[in-house]
Amino acid sequence: MSETILNTILKDTYTLTLLKHRLRVLKNYLLNQLFTASKVSLNPEDLTWLNSLGPAFYQQFNKDNVEEIFSRLEAEIKKEQLLYLYLPFVAGNQVVSQIGGQIRHIFEKVVLFEIRFDPSLIAGCAISWKGVYRDYSLRAKIDQRKGEILQSFKKFLR
């Protein structure tokens, strides 16, 4: 059952940070609903996401299984292989969604990723997957053709 729940959450959740945040919000919301039934103040984005899950999703939880389901979900997240994406700019939510969609299209499966800001890349990006770091940035290109670039600059030296 926890697998179905995780798949539903992962439908529009791309990064590990967002996944952890959403799980915490969902857990708080459910505990509140099941045990105290008081009003919870949520930010509009989280509220929209909770509403998007639909009544069928919430029917899977009850007072007896809620803690167990969340501990299983946390264990499953720990097993997930993470893709690190290094970008030379701070990516907004829209860019993250676009990248997430593209990654799932390329890998043909759900892959969680983390975005790391690295201005030294200059342009382009670098990715790290299963312990291998691949640098597709302008920095790597410059490093590769350092000699050529220095030669070109020498022409302008008096």
Binding site: Y84, S128, K130, G131, V132, Y133, D135, Y136, D143, Q144
Partner: protein, 482 residues
Amino acid sequence: MNQTEVGYVVENHEFLIYLDGFPSIRINDIVENENGQRGWVTSLSGDKVEVLMLDEGKIAPGQLFKKTPHRLGVPAGEFLLGRAINPLGVPIDGKGLLSKTKTTKVLELEQNAAGIMYRKFITDQFLTGITLIDSLLPLGRGQRELVIGDAHSGKTMFLIDLIVNQKDQGVICIYASIGKSVVSVRDLLDILRANKTLSYTMVIAASSTDPAPLIFLTPKTAFTLAEYFQRQGKHVLVILDDLGTHAKIYREMSLLSNKSPGRESYPGDIFYQHAHLLERAGNFRENLGGGSITALPVIELTLTDFTTFIPTNLMSMTDGHLLFKSSLHNLGMRPAIDISLSVTRVGRQTQDRLTNMLSTRIRQLLSHADELETISRFSAELPPQTQMVLRQKQILEEVLKHEPLTSVPPQIQLILLALCLSSFISDKDKKFMEKNKKVLWQGFLQHPQLVKITQSVPSLKSDDELIKLLEGVSPILNKICS
């Protein structure tokens, strides 16, 4: 596109970190983070890589480490002579960069000891210029002799004497200072420099303020560099000062990495760690360069107890030990070695016949005198024979006393010892020897008739022959001493 292997910090405890990733990493590879802090890969377990940090600095979970093309090693070459470096080959003597070139070899620190087919019998004596060692507790080239003793018993001074006396002997000296204070490392360098020993000496030092893994690597670096010179056919002396600190550092690292503690909380493989190091010493055949590595590991005792775990371990993996006592040091004995409790297992086979016979007689005399000393405590008046033996012992002790930073030539050592067994000293006492030791020494090097005896020592067949020759020149000796 650039491609490198990376790992991310998943756990960190002080200098020990665990990383994930690195699909093809090997033990002893070096990894580095973006701040230039280096780590040494020590173990691989399932999905985790255990790394010991060699540089200080803050490590945070999630931090990226990249694999470097380097392995754990040290640059080796003649340029290291006269220099003091840390275990990774970084100079610490303030003399600037090492004069290495691009072709300089970087040797891996972790090496297996050479097998039996590359080793040969220890046949040459390692001359120290110290009468007590060269005659009574001789060392062989390639021997491993433990230097064990209390604090302030003169161990370091003895080791410095040993290095100073290797001048013109063609021996390369490597001093590994393990976890000592920065001040004592600096003092050691000053003494070595003042005695002009730096042309054949190098110091490998990691001070107590350095990260524990770096201190742990100090003896490995010393042996790696010793092997470099040995493979060129040279004779090398390695001093490891001291392995007690090394064991404590390894205990700290092991407890941090959750290895089960054993006796005195040391990990189970502490014996292996020390034995693995010391078996790299030896006398080697020509197919491995032909040189030798003589190792002198040092261990300081607590409360004069040498029956604790690490000292007994080291005793069992060396070819003997020199036991230093602070009580002897306080009595003025230099070196303050307890002859009856010290052992040398292979050194005696390297001595010539004359020295061997003489040293056996002297050890017999000393032990006999010890027995008589105990009995004499109960008697008010002693027979003349007993008094003679006791006086001989006192004179012998005076001969065995070593002036710091001096080297006694082997022939003079034998002559002075044989003199103690001759009739020449029958009417002399301890004070006579104390006053005239240097006069006799100089006499045997300069007086025309005495020089003949000095020159004939190597050709003599027995100690009796030497004693007879010395008794023959008693009038001359009495004359030069008066």
